[in-house]
């Protein structure tokens, strides 16, 4: 079972969806938004991004394919024991697990 906790940076995330394309490519051999377990929501008025991760994400810790696709380094999977301290960093938000 996956234990690392995903965080995203509101400052660094550009809403490009490369994480979604990479995830769906791994899971379905196709590129689509529907097939991705990581989801980027773009605010319809402010175009700000918010990133969620499915509870079904089963990539082994450290081998998530969404990570290398994000050249802005806006995503992090943090070991559980370090995750609470991440809450002190205002730039980083825990991704909702859906």
């Amino acid at each position: 079972m996956k234990t690392n906790i995903p965080f995203f940076s509101r400052k660094l995330c550009t809403g490009c969806l490369r994480c979604e394309m990479s995830c769906s490519l791994l899971k379905t051999k196709e590129c689509s938004r529907e097939g991705s377990l990581v989801k980027v929501f773009l605010h319809p008025y402010l175009s700000t991004p918010m990133v969620s991760v499915s509870i079904q994400c089963d990539c082994p810790d450290g081998q998530e394919k969404c990570l290398p696709a994000c050249n802005q380094e806006a995503l992090k999977f943090v070991p559980q024991e370090e995750s609470t301290m991440m809450l002190t960093q205002v730039e980083w938000f825990p991704c909702p697990i859906i």
Binding site: T14, M21, L25, C31, R33, E34, P44, S47, Q72
Partner: protein, 620 residues
């Protein structure tokens, strides 16, 4: 089918009828996608001599094989038609996610003809196209219309490309705007959309793009992103965005200040790229699949415009609402940009036409009697806002300016056409041609009028690698901005390879260096499609599309005399700055360009041999 959705939607609004056809192997093989698809479909659909506002004109949206995949910066889309501004072919290219969403919705292109009896919009969703009544959407600006559509369909992921009031009013300066801020369309594609009573194309897709070689795509994507991030333009665009380009043009004395009466603007330091970054920037975004977030966001935090928020201003924005009209207020530039986005106006043509009118006012060719009492003094930002409103609503003095500077000069007379900065009826986009000979030639020969993006010959900006020059077979003299040698061959080569970028719907900002070379993108294309394209085949496709655009325009009456530049840049030397004394020596470059193209200098036609070589012979 790998890479492609495999379908084209044909929408006849007069008959309220939708038909869907499969994508032909011939179209894929000879035209690849995107702008090349659009050009062929437009050539086949629009009869010669068609009225741009008539139901026989077609409005076409097209995307390419890489849209909706992990391929970097491949989410753009093209929209085109026969232009009401030029009478020739026009297509605009825009970013955002809309282009990928169309693929996920199951289509590679939409061909829209006819005219709806009442205002309508298209809903394109998961392989299905519906023509629906626009109702209250008609009359709304683009931002309102997009939000209304998302609410109506209960879906914030609905992606909308549409027109504002200017398109509804069929103003030739109207463009199509996607997702509020991505302008697709110089040359009046928005006016064509308005003439069809079509407010918007709302797209939502849940289908996947089949990939022939998933690991190959992943590897090629990583390789291209690394290559991009090692290039010097990457960080400039990421950190500051396109407005920094204006600083470069200012340094060479090419910012077309006071409508080109000067090459330098004495208050440029007040609207320099860093001003926008340091004073207003609140973050950056990227288009779909793009590793280069050049799309900056701005907020005015205090003063008259406190709370005003806008995105994605460009170098052209800073020139058209800054230097060209002698405005040094950066906030006014942001506001004018937002107005154009909301009303759906081509900000380049708007800015250049207003600058032209201001010079006419300065020279007393027109007075306040002609302008409905509006003071057109240089740098008057309230006049700028007022004129944008009038142009969008086709009212008062705006009725004249909305026709563009060529037609305004015909109305104003007194030799004002000498400083109406357009080619073929389309306003000059950015830098003064007298500062860069390669861009001057690109403006002159572009099929859609004075436009730099068809050639986008970045070799004059210190971005020509030896690899690029070797590929093009052009001498290093092309990097000298005042030299004319090699510019003809270089421009022809650039147009060919930029067509590949536009056919793949990659971004030309990203592809301005290595990713623009066919040999670097052919791998990712083959991984996605499972085909065995070669780099040479891609260049041939680029050349085919350029020649087909030529045939379209010749059918509409184009002659070699149309491949020219405004009188001012051919005869009036720049009076100051680092390009002082320069005028464009066009003829030697044109001669070399025509030779490189295999076009007859007298008639403008491609040779029989060239058409045969490109499988275009039957279209002669």
């Amino acid at each position: 089918m790998y890479g492609y959705a495999g379908k084209i939607g044909f929408i006849n609004l007069s008959k309220n009828k939708v038909t869907v056809e499969g994508l032909s192997e011939d179209l894929i093989k000879n035209y690849l996608g995107g702008i090349s698809f659009l050009t062929r479909l437009l050539y086949d659909t629009v009869p010669g001599g068609a009225d741009p506002y008539g139901p026989e004109n077609a409005l076409i949206f097209a995307i390419g094989p890489l849209n909706g995949t992990l391929s970097p910066a491949s989410s753009r889309w093209n929209v085109g038609a026969k232009s009401p501004a030029t009478g020739f072919i026009v297509s605009g290219n825009a970013g955002g996610i809309w282009g990928s969403e169309l693929k996920w919705a199951g289509f590679d292109a939409l061909v829209i003809t006819g005219r709806a009896k009442k205002p309508c919009y298209l809903l394109v969703q998961d392989g299905k196209i519906d023509i629906l009544p626009a109702g209250d959407l008609w009359g709304k600006d683009i931002w309102e219309a997009e939000n209304m559509l998302q609410h109506m369909h209960g879906d914030p992921n609905l992606r909308v490309a549409g027109i504002g009031q200017s398109g509804e009013n069929q103003v030739p300066l109207a463009c199509v705007i996607g997702e509020k801020v991505h302008a697709g369309g110089r040359g009046g594609a928005g006016a064509v959309m308005g003439s069809k009573n079509l407010k918007a194309v709302a797209v939502r897709g849940r289908l996947g793009v089949k990939i022939a070689d998933p690991e190959g795509l992943r590897n090629e994507s990583e390789r291209l992103v690394k290559m991009l991030m090692s290039e010097n333009h990457y960080w400039r665009y990421r950190n500051i965005g396109s407005p920094k380009g204006t600083t470069l043009y200012s340094k060479v004395g090419g910012v077309t200040a006071y409508n080109g009466q000067s090459g330098i603007f004495e208050e440029f330091d007040k609207i320099e790229g860093d001003i926008f970054l340091n004073r207003y920037n609140i973050g950056r975004s990227a288009c779909g699949n793009c590793p280069l977030p050049c799309w900056q966001k701005y907020l005015v935090k205090e003063g008259r415009f406190q709370g005003a928020w806008t995105e994605a201003i460009e170098n052209s924005t800073v020139q058209c609402f800054g230097t060209k009209i002698a405005n040094s207020d950066p906030e006014a530039i942001l506001i004018a940009h937002t107005l154009c986005d909301k009303y759906g106006l081509d900000e380049i043509s708007v800015g250049v036409t207003i600058a032209f009118a201001m010079e006419c006012f300065q020279k007393k060719i027109i007075t306040e009697k002609d302008t409905d009492g509006i003071d057109l003094s240089w740098g008057n930002v309230d006049t700028l806002f007022k004129l944008i409103e009038l142009i969008a609503h086709n009212q008062g003095f705006g009725k004249i300016l909305g026709q563009g500077c060529k037609k305004a000069a015909e109305i104003f007379g007194h030799d004002s056409d000498r400083f109406a900065l357009h080619v073929k009826g389309l306003e000059i986009s950015t830098v003064d041609p007298r500062a860069y000979m390669g861009w001057a030639l690109a403006y002159a020969v572009s099929p859609r009028g004075a436009d730099h993006m068809r050639s986008y010959s970045s070799w004059e900006f210190g971005e020509a690698s030896d690899e690029m020059l070797e590929e093009a077979g052009i001498p290093r003299t092309v990097t000298n901005r005042f030299s004319v040698e090699g510019k003809g061959r270089g421009t022809a080569y650039s147009e060919n390879i930029r067509t590949i970028t536009d056919s793949l719907e990659m971004c030309k900002t990203v592809a301005r260096q290595s990713l623009g070379l066919p040999k670097h993108v052919v791998g990712i294309l083959n991984a996605v499609t499972g085909r065995k394209w070669s780099a040479d085949e891609l260049v041939r496709i680029g050349e085919r599309k350029v020649n087909l655009e030529r045939l379209f325009n010749l059918r509409e009456g184009l002659t070699p005399a149309d491949d020219t530049l405004p009188w001012r840049v051919l005869h009036e030397p720049l009076p100051d700055g680092p390009s002082e004394g320069s005028v464009v020596d066009l003829e030697p470059m044109l001669k070399e360009y025509y030779e490189a193209r295999g076009w007859d200098r007298e008639t403008g036609y491609p040779s029989e041999e060239k058409l045969r070589e490109l499988n275009l012979e039957p279209l002669r």
